[in-house]
Amino acid sequence: MIKIEHIQKAFLAKQVLRDVTFEVEEGSIYGLIGKNGAGKTTLMKIMTNLLTADGGSCVFEKEKKPLSVGYLPDLPEFYDYLTTDEYLDYLLFDQNPIRRDKLLSLVSLPKGVRIKTMSRGMRQRLGIAAVLVGNPDVILLDEPTSALDPAGRSDVKRILLDLKKSGKTILLSTHILADMDTICDKAGFLHEGTIVKEVMLREQREQAAGLIVRFAGDVEEENKETLLAGMGCDSKWQDAHTLRILFDPKDPIGSQKQILSVLSETDLRIASIGSAVKTLDQIFREVCL
């Protein structure tokens, strides 16, 4: 369990972290969300002892035994004149070529590539391999996907999910909220120096609470009334062409069948159907802007 309690940090007169408190479940991925300058990097550096907090505590332990922590900065810097295998050998004190090869294959990097010639995506993967050299129980990643193209982001996400499967606990920060939606189990919004909201993403994904149906063009009042009456559960029109329908919590399957049958019978053209769960982007706008 990672327990962050009442962390405070100020730089001169600027109070960056006022009172940060949250917990990360073992073997899960926790996403830290916040605007630029919210203090995400500062918090991660405090968690890895690269900065000293003015107050509060960070506890990393399992059954009263301390957990090891690895940290990867947002744009990791390497010795560019080395090759991928030489760099990992250096971090392994030239003593474990088998582990070096395993790490390279985990992040799908070849041996012998000069770091200077590598793309950002490859560097980020090398960074993850470098963090894993000491086999830490907890991995802190600062913006691991922010500078990557879609292919690079997808690679990093795959690696993170593999690490989670192997029992690692991961805490990451990113601006790309779509990434958080798909891989994180829980997300915390850091705003004005404190965690203002936490969202259980795993539960949200597993228990979609309803649907948002968007019709092509404006829907006439008469049709709106008919649809609302047919749904038989809590539903309302958000605007002239968007209907928000929430499943009946007592009988979600029944209301799901009812909704789909009403929609299949309507003559109105449907433009899109999505989950009624608020996206992280929507929550971010509500709590951080």
Binding site: Y71, D89, L91, F93, Q95, A130
Partner: protein
Amino acid sequence: MNGAMVSCIKKDLREVFRTGKLVIFLALAFGIAVMILGITLVFSDIPQALWEQLPGFNISSLEEVISSLYPKLVRESAGVYAYYIGFFYSLIVILIVHGILPSEMQKEKWVLPLQQGYTKLQLILSKCLVYGAVAGASVFAGYLFYFMVANACMERNMGLGNALILGLVHSMNLFFIVIYTELFSVLYKSPVIAAVSMIATILLVPDLAIYFSFGRLLPTYLLTFVYDSCSDYGRILPPLICNVAQLLILGLLVSMKYAPPEQA
């Protein structure tokens, strides 16, 4: 030496080879040697050429100036080479090395190695040893090359043993200069201050210290010793001891600043 230190030195040796710094250091040492040899051999003919072009032109004062600046005796000429190394080579090497460690720290290149068990002291010490050794070895090779060529072209008045010792002392000078520069660069807030203070010390102190009796005890006397191509080796010991003591104090200050934090 432990495994971490060996890995660190191996990595820094790769840095020196692959970033072209070894080539720069060697090119400087040998380039200065070729330049002075060329000037010495060409300039010595200028007064004669002038006298032939301008009959009646008094060449004696010009000959004196040139022979004092670029003497054609091996011992004195080797002193001129040593002076140029102390002046230009040191200047360029200081400018190259003063920013290396602060830049690595600022760019957070140490974050990953420190997590895996390296200490800041190991990273600093390895860089000092490797850069110092490479600069020193380049100067030693350059000095011997100069001595060999000068011995073939100029009036011989210096033995090989003397040249070897002087070459060794000068390589030690450069070794210490590089180490001081790197240690100062991580002690001072700005590496530029480290570079400026080192350059000022090397360029001014040897010339000023000779006016004082204690000058021979200062570490900079080792530079003067080579500039003068001395063969009284007993004079090396006091400044060498002083140098080592000074280096130990500096090392202590650095280790106090960069000692690993105590475990809570």
